[in-house]
């Protein structure tokens, strides 16, 4: 129980430190509002358009794969913890090993499939490819 009190205490301290720095800074810093100062930075140019546009998330499939592997990792942790104690109690190695191998194997097949269908490849958007071709034609 006291473990979690201590972790909670560090969480409180961890929040207190940034908040304290913000307060101290708010007390000592100047405020000189000026026209144009608060423009968002776009390499010195006047910003064009909005930032919240629709765009192609290249790693959408990767994110789905991540969820699968993340759950696998969580499910493997209890196995990893009991593996050595079970061996020391005389359970044969193969009895402990094959469920994990089967489990990892199924996901390995999934990874091979994703690999072959190009899900873990960074795809170039059609627009980027087209631009490149036009430039090549012009040269």
């Amino acid at each position: 129980m006291s473990d979690w009190i201590a972790i909670g205490a560090l969480a409180a301290v961890g929040l207190f430190i940034p908040l304290g720095m913000m307060v101290v800074s708010a007390l000592i810093r100047p405020s000189v509002p000026e026209q144009g100062k608060s423009t968002i930075y776009e390499s010195g140019e006047t910003p064009t358009g909005t930032t919240r546009i629709r765009f192609n998330i290249q790693y959408y499939m990767v994110a789905l794969l991540f969820v699968v592997f993340d759950i696998e990792t969580v499910l493997l942790f209890p196995w990893a913890v009991i593996y050595r104690p079970a061996l020391e109690q005389g359970v044969p190695m193969w009895d402990l090993l094959w469920p994990m191998l089967a489990f990892v194997g199924i996901l390995a097949v999934g990874l091979v499939w994703a690999w072959r269908t190009g899900a873990v490849k960074w795809t170039k958007s059609p627009r980027a490819t087209r631009r490149k071709t036009e430039r090549d034609v012009n040269q």
Binding site: L10, S25, I40, D70
Partner: protein, 357 residues
């Protein structure tokens, strides 16, 4: 496998000051947490304004910060005051609560990871706040909150560079989180526990003896392959070169922190350094024997500091020496290289442990 549990830091304080009951426990925990928080802050204070400049200068054959105080050390308070006294510029159209919360989340989450890190003994004091049975899983959980902060900052800043930085942070964490944790799992197979003190004490055994010197069974020596994998994944996890693409100063200005100034920027900077030290601490505990080293147990903290600073030096060395990987290369290395290698390592470790036990 696990040794007799050492007295934790809050218990030591409660006993020394004679604080009874649950209220005393809370007060002792707060005091202990305050001390640990300030130890970590002291590391980042030395690392950020001073050591980082000095190290980079040494790599590029320059002399850096030597004007203020001996070895330029007084630049630390000077920089702190200077940075906090900067004007805070709130850009147009930022997503206000999120934009303000992101700089709190990063340092707070990275600092929280130190709750379960056994930092070793300093005299009679065991500098470890808590030692729950799920320690290792917990520290990874805390450490990975950092990427949430990067996404918050990237999205809320209303800046295209920030947006790109935030999304790159997501891609990077998706690619490296699993290799990192699966490699750490191979350590768990060796140690048979997730408890941090158990992992450290499992590395106290003697691996072999060379000329009367006992070489301890640190997992970096037992399984160097896993160590290299973990080191690489750890660099990606904390976002340092060659995996610093969420910031990538030469490509996307400063990534997710482009629009931050004043204390908000300091908090990001600080949070990143705390995260580096947390990465070093996890590495030290899982692969380098925690606070173990020559000499009595009571100077363990010194060895722990040496180890995490060695890791910090390593990150700075990589910063000066290695080119940054491209984002498509990062995805390829993560998913086609590291993931496969980490699972291969897991199976090999399981077989190895099965043979030697």
């Amino acid at each position: 496998m696990s040794a007799a549990p050492a007295q934790l830091f809050p218990e030591f304080i409660a006993e020394t000051l004679g604080l009874p009951g649950v209220a005393g426990e809370v007060v002792a925990a707060l005091i202990a947490a305050f001390v640990v928080g300030n130890i970590v802050l002291a590391f980042t204070g030395v690392a950020g304004p001073w050591a980082k400049r000095k190290i980079t200068a040494a790599f590029t054959d320059r002399v850096a910060v030597d004007r203020v105080g001996p070895f330029g050390l007084l630049i630390i308070p000077a920089s702190a005051v200077q940075l906090l006294a900067k004007e805070l510029i709130v850009p147009e159209g930022v997503d206000r609560p999120t934009w303000d919360l992101a700089p709190i989340v990063l340092p707070a989450s990275a600092l929280l990871g130190f709750a379960v890190i056994p930092m070793g003994h300093l005299g009679p004091v065991n500098l470890q706040l808590a030692d729950p049975e799920v320690g290792l899983a917990l520290v990874f959980a805390f450490a990975s909150i950092a990427s949430v902060s990067l996404v918050m900052a990237g999205y809320a800043s209303n800046n295209k560079y920030s947006m790109l930085g935030g999304l790159r942070a997501v891609a990077q964490n998706l690619a490296y989180e699993i290799p990192l944790i699966v490699t750490a799992m191979s350590v768990v197979i060796f140690a048979g526990t997730l408890q941090m003190s158990g992992i450290v004490s499992a590395q106290q055994e003697v691996l072999f003896t060379v000329g009367g010197f006992d070489v301890p069974a640190w997992y970096a020596l037992v399984n160097p392959f896993a160590f290299v994998l973990f080191l690489t994944a750890n660099m990606a996890e904390i976002g340092r070169n060659p995996f610093d693409i969420p910031e990538a100063p030469t490509e996307i200005v400063a990534g997710y922190q482009t629009e931050y100034s004043s204390s908000y920027f300091v908090l990001f900077y600080l949070g990143e350094f705390v995260h580096i030290f947390l990465g070093g601490a996890i590495l030290a505990v899982t692969f380098l024997g925690g606070a173990a080293g020559p000499g009595p147990e009571s100077i363990g903290f010194v060895w722990f500091v040496v180890k995490i600073w060695a890791f910090f030096l390593f990150t700075q060395w990589c910063r000066s020496a290695l080119p940054r990987v491209r984002i498509d290369q990062l995805i390829e290395i993560g998913w086609k290289g590291m993931l496969v290698l980490s699972f291969a390592n897991l199976v090999l470790t399981a077989v190895l442990v099965g043979v030697i036990v």
